[in-house]
Subunit: 193 residues, 2 copies
Amino acid sequence: MNLKEKIILESLKLFSLKGFIGTSIHDILTAANTSKGGFYNHFKSKEDLFFQVLEEARRIWREKNLKGLEDIENPIEKIKKFLENFRDLYLKDAENFPGGCIFVTFSVELNDQRPHLSREVNRGFIGLKGMLKRLLDESKEAGELRSDVSTDAITEMLFAGVLGATVMYGVDKSAENPDRSISALIDYLEKLR
Amino acid sequence: MNLKEKIILESLKLFSLKGFIGTSIHDILTAANTSKGGFYNHFKSKEDLFFQVLEEARRIWREKNLKGLEDIENPIEKIKKFLENFRDLYLKDAENFPGGCIFVTFSVELNDQRPHLSREVNRGFIGLKGMLKRLLDESKEAGELRSDVSTDAITEMLFAGVLGATVMYGVDKSAENPDRSISALIDYLEKLR
DNA sequence: ACAGAGAGACAGACTGGTCGGTCTCTCTGT
DNA sequence: ACAGAGAGACCGACCAGTCTGTCTCTCTGT
């Protein structure tokens, strides 16, 4: 692994723990065992690093959460698989995200402080919500969902549940409670059929 | 309003927007229209201010969210009323919390960075979860809830939903989506009876 | 084959500016 | 006259970012 990759991976961990603003360049240099020269040789600024870390985080997110989804035809089964992936593979990925989901950390920290950075983060949230909504609509059209439910409401509920479980994981760093709430979401989804 | 109260209220707003670490003493002085002398005359440190702001935030939280709860006997109705309060009175309280719920901001920002501060914040979360759990257990004992549901799972689900809605409010600052997900939680609760 | 030039990688001293916090002084109400 | 409130100069630590210098590797002319 070259220095640039090392800096990105170490930053990913540090940002997950302490946020973007809360992590100093010095912290990163120490973690990556390098110096200012080594850092600025690869990144033109701390914000430049931010975007490259965000890209890597998204890659990891997709790798964990979308695993095996393309093999599933049924849209509700797809959502269930996603929730299971989120619960089993992503949420407790302390290797990459020791401080919990980096997107939530970024979003909360940057929304009112660095809007041009948080905009990029929030695009990811909107993308996830869109995916859930599309799958639910597809299912409803196929007549699989009860006709009296609003896919908008379910989307918000699932999304809020996933987000909330993520914050909870940060609170007590135990996977037990988030596990329970994601599992409850899966049950809930099952009952809508 | 005296200077000390003014500093606490302005800090409440600023912390809600930019977090504790992200808000500088200078920001607070400007907002409260005072000086270092005025500040340190009333607070012995920034952390001292933190605890006093936290106390005020809790007072506001209780005032908004527990309003009218003591007049309700039925535990499920109590939870419903709480969720309605949360949705209608608390979440969109831009007066006190222009950047969204201060507890979530604090928790995400401080969990891995100032554990002795976040511990106090998390105690509040645990308290809320405890309240929900007690009400649900009470309801189940009275035979009002379906016997096949786990109150632990519902507690986690409700709590995660509330937390998630709060984060979502921060993301797009529109109350529409959080409203929908809190309303979906109320429906969900209704169906468990 | 080999000397020398050039490029890229990295180290770390240094800059201007901001941080939380202290200290002294003045102003005001009693 | 005096005590408490508040103003603001000041301190050392730390921030992101710059700059100079060194070391190593590769490429080129002979």
